[in-house]
Assembly symmetry: C2
Homo-oligomer: 397 residues x 2
């Protein structure tokens, strides 16, 4: 704390702070916001209390522009526009969540924004040449939002870790560690989003004992198939998977996927698990030979298996498995995880007061709170960074 | 100061702070850096002392990528790369300036970066619809640089003012006001860069009495002609202009340019004064009929006239005229300004201890110092913003 002696972290932590966290994921389905209060208890432990949760639509015009940007198909003018326009949309989300919560803007201490990732290219593990640092780009301007709302905003959380040679991800482990560490049993926090990632917190762990990595696909394979062959966004409650049966030869091929067997640290994305990947597998299996539900069943089984396989191989498969993300609502996947992992006790984060679809926004509210209190936000054993860093940039209007 | 009571501005201003300012302009000719110490004297006045000045080349590969980005010709991966790579180049500039200054990195309190503007589209004056806010985009990540060097970095200075409905420019006036205000005489600070802009500080002015605006072309017309017809980057010392004579019919047409006669606030750029503009005028005049030096002379005369005309029409043309920027080294322009403005006393900023090519980098060091002390950086009468704002984002590694 001596380094920034003009910034008084002690004062920041001296009372509960209300932070609004805003998350827009790669699926572009919504702007997720959470309003929460963070405080430090008399034992120095961090506490949170969720005040309100909210979802806003991203207008189609902006969604389309973001897709254009990601495909390198946009003009620089459009990219610059989206960078500011996202901040304007975030400001509307903040107004909405405040309205339902009956809080005033002046009662909010700060806002944390993840921003919209349009490129993420961390340093490769085999690339040790200093000139080839990684890079990442999230759109949504912290300064712009701070001035629209006249409230401090923290954003751009991933750049610091990448500059330090880390993957810039996952950033959730510091939240998981602070709020789910148990003295007596192992905890695995699993988020099933587009991809699946987990944080393993051994019983009584120090921060450096925490490991975290992507296990492979989350909903991405199932959703892609559902959208193409059923014209539905996802397999609601796992209904289609439960109506089908496993295609054994397809399941066996899927299980051979290299990524699943790689040792952590590892991270993946739509570069690997995408429509092309599914199409090639379906063509190989023969689409006409099976019921569409059989494909959903097999892809869902593979998704559950790949998560379980990673847990068995690379963590200690006992204690509590606590699941969040859209995939936690797929009953087929949850049932299969239970079957694959008989020794773990499975919960949803909802059981601990965190709605399954609010966890990421809550994490970025927490990270903003940490940054404003000058605490680091990354866990180097999880990201691979050379050291801890206070994440993000602070805009004070 | 009560708002961010966990940030102690009093402490920040309690001793001199060493700040490194880094500027990369639209001409992409170099990374200009200045190392300076800022302090508050016993009367509460701000003081600066330049410790060192430095210029680094921007590698051709990066220059070309920036040109591609500006022309909407780059991939999103390239744009994301440049955003981080510029920070890496800035970190090398900081190491270089420290080496020549014999200061240690640990003796630097903070860095201020302007970043590389790749788009600047403020709200138009006639656009009062809230949905059409302006936007601006500077590449170069503050968080990335802060973590490469392990020093606080302030960046992204223009977004706040734009979010508040301002032009996001000029940001130099707060520097001019604090360091050049006179109790007894009017001061006009003139920077002749690619474009020319001025800050008018009436004698004994309050901050709200300050006006600032672009007068029109700086070196842009001359440089463009020199590069095309003489294969030289610029007219060194105004030699070519002094060897030529004015082409009266061309000068008369140039003087009719609308922008010159517009009332401030106004700002311009390469959208208006560019190669097409010159080509059309030359074609109209007939290139073969005149000596090339006559064109340089006429374009230089017009540049000086347009500055003087704006000073006469929109400010009080007496007191001191203090000139900086590359154009201040063009003796033809300086001579013509003296002739057009007989009642003003003309100086270069060098006379006041600021090298003509260091002023902008020094301004951004000053703006960073202000931001870290929670002082606003914009002057709403100059930018058109609806209120004062603490500019930029702060990255604390």
């Amino acid at each position: 704390m001596t380094r920034y002696n003009y910034i008084n972290a002690k004062n920041w932590f001296s009372k509960p702070r209300v932070i609004c966290g805003l998350m827009t994921g790669t699926s572009l389905d919504s702007i997720d916001s959470v309003l929460a209060s963070f405080s430090v208890d008399i034992f120095g432990r961090h506490q949170f209390e969720i005040i309100e949760q909210h979802k806003s639509e991203i207008p189609d015009k902006i969604k389309n522009l973001i897709h254009k940007i990601i495909k390198s198909d946009s003009s620089i003018s459009e990219l610059s526009f989206v960078n500011s326009e996202l901040s304007r949309l975030y400001s509307l989300s903040v107004h909405s969540i405040l309205k339902t919560s009956n809080l005033l803007l002046s009662e909010v201490d700060a806002i944390g924004i993840h921003g919209q990732t349009v490129w993420h290219e961390p340093k490769k593990n085999d690339d040790n040449i200093n000139q080839h640092l990684g890079h990442t780009l999230q759109l949504g301007s912290a300064s712009y939002l701070a001035n629209l709302l006249n409230i401090p905003v923290v954003g751009d959380f991933r750049a610091a870790d990448i500059a330090l040679g880390g993957q810039g991800a996952p950033l959730v482990p510091i939240f998981d560690y602070n709020f789910f560490l148990s003295k007596t049993e192992d905890i695995i926090m699993l988020n099933i989003g587009g991809m699946s990632n987990l944080t393993h917190i051994p019983a009584n762990a120090t921060e450096d004992d925490v490991i975290a990595f992507d296990t492979g696909p989350g909903n991405v394979l199932i959703d892609t198939f559902m959208q193409k062959y059923f014209n539905k966004p996802y397999d609601d409650l796992g209904f289609h998977a439960r109506s089908g049966k496993i295609i054994p030869q397809l399941f066996e091929i899927l299980k051979k996927n290299d990524f699943i067997h790689q040792s952590p640290p590892k991270s993946t994305g739509r570069e690997l698990f995408n429509e092309d990947y599914i199409s090639s597998l379906i063509n190989w299996s023969g689409l006409e030979k099976f019921d569409y539900n059989d494909f959903v069943c097999t892809l869902s089984e593979f998704t559950a298996w790949s998560i379980a396989e990673n847990i068995i191989k690379f963590t200690n498969p006992k204690g509590k498995l606590i699941v969040s993300g859209g995939g936690s609502q797929n009953l087929f996947i949850i049932d299969r995880l239970k079957a694959y992992l008989p020794k773990v006790e499975l919960f949803l984060t909802d059981y601990f007061g965190i709605p399954y679809d609010a966890k990421e926004a809550l994490c970025f509210a927490y990270l903003a709170w940490r940054t404003l209190g000058l605490l680091h936000g990354n866990i180097p054993t999880a990201t691979g960074a050379m050291r801890r860093a206070i994440l993000g940039v602070i805009a004070l209007p």
